[in-house]
Symmetry: C2
Subunit: 246 residues, 2 copies
């Protein structure tokens, strides 16, 4: 009874990345299968995902997918919505691919969607190539297989909402970053402009954002200080906050 798929259940992952100016999404190529209608050109990319095994934790399935693509364990990841319409697999090509891939007589799949925040790094490129995966700018992603366009939009809506509640930003930025990168991230994700001086004042009030003695490199003007996220101070803060509710 090992590694048997539950034919009705899958996980799909929306992996977000940020590269200073753009919010990006990781999509993987969906191979053509024999018998497909070759005239349908949409659906050639999809979100990373698969059916889950009979004894598998949902979170584990998602984690494993993410680890395969990024070789990283420590990723911010969260289940955000279930997509379960009986008719969510519209395209015959998609259904055929799924059946070929799994060798199961699949009709309906309910998928649990996760989103994850990834620090885009150069040394990922090889690994991604091997999985036929690539980063695409969020606004340019369309025509994904299944209902993955919709899943992506919901994931983005969720990210937007969450970012205003908790400091997710540090999961998308490198360890050391400038305040301007941080601002840019907020502007891109929330699709909103911020006054640089006010943004700076506001964000610096956060105790978990700490200055370092490093500075920006290879710029043709005054280099900015680099900051980092202090997870301990954040946890400390959270603990202090929750005391109010005792």
């Amino acid at each position: 009874m090992e590694n048997v798929y539950i034919p009705h259940l899958s996980v799909d992952c929306v992996l977000f990345g940020f590269d200073e100016k753009q919010l990006k999404v990781l999509v993987v190529k969906r191979d053509r299968v024999p018998g497909e209608n070759p005239d349908l050109h949409s659906g050639l990319f999809k979100l990373p995902g698969r059916l889950i095994y009979e004894d598998e934790f949902l979170e584990d399935a998602a984690s494993k997918l993410i680890k395969e693509l990024t070789s990283s364990d420590d990723i911010h990841m969260q289940q955000f919505q279930v997509f379960g319409n009986p008719n969510r697999i519209q395209s015959p090509n998609d259904l055929l691919w799924l059946q070929t891939q799994t060798r199961l007589p699949i009709r309906r799949v309910v998928t649990i969607a996760f989103y994850a925040l990834i620090k885009i790094e150069e040394d990922l490129t090889d690994m991604l190539e091997r999985h036929n995966a690539r980063w695409i700018n969020l606004p340019e992603v369309k025509g994904l297989a299944f209902d993955h366009d919709e899943i992506l939009q919901e994931a983005y809506a969720h990210l937007k909402k969450e970012l205003t509640t908790s400091p997710l930003e540090f999961n998308l930025l490198p360890e050391y970053f400038t305040l301007n990168s941080l601002q840019s991230l907020y502007e891109v994700i929330l699709d909103q402009h911020f006054d640089n001086r006010n943004f700076r004042k506001k964000i610096l009030k956060m105790s978990y954002l700490v200055e370092t003695d490093k500075t920006e490199q290879k710029v043709t003007h005054r280099p900015a200080k680099l900051y980092r996220f202090d997870a301990d101070k954040y946890a400390q803060n959270q603990r202090e906050m929750s005391l109010f509710f005792l």
Copy 2:
């Protein structure tokens, strides 16, 4: 192929109600089945829920459950989390009940949890009795079957968070209500005290909260004005807000 259960998938609903002073949850009795261990006294109540049918929308399954219990169609309801641990059915009694109930060799069930906001009304009492259902004050609910205690806690956490974002309050209050009821609702759900005068000022700024010419009845002192929620004005507001993001 009609009304065939998917043995791995269910919905569970957390129905919240409010009765002026307390946040309440609707639980239903889980009947004893032959072969049970009668010494186990926990798990005799559960959240409303059931397996879903092969061609059924998740939302429909949840809606139907809610309609059966409240005979109301127009209920604020939202999927909020999936509970899918392979070992989430811990109690042998629970598993046995599930198998007896469904006549299926069930091992693992992934459940999609919904929460819904109900206006508690007197004329519901009969209907609830027929379904062995009853309202319990949130803090007193414990020892539910399956992992329903956990589901309930997550639902409550979710409600708390959502209430600070959108005006869910009107789904829990009767059509006409006093500002004090409204305040009490906020205080109970958010577990936080508010200054009556400041609360009043803040909430009255909301255009969707409108005064009526009705007043509180049967009180032994100056009766308060009754207010109501103006859904149109709220929708209008939402539309205006979203124009900023164009």
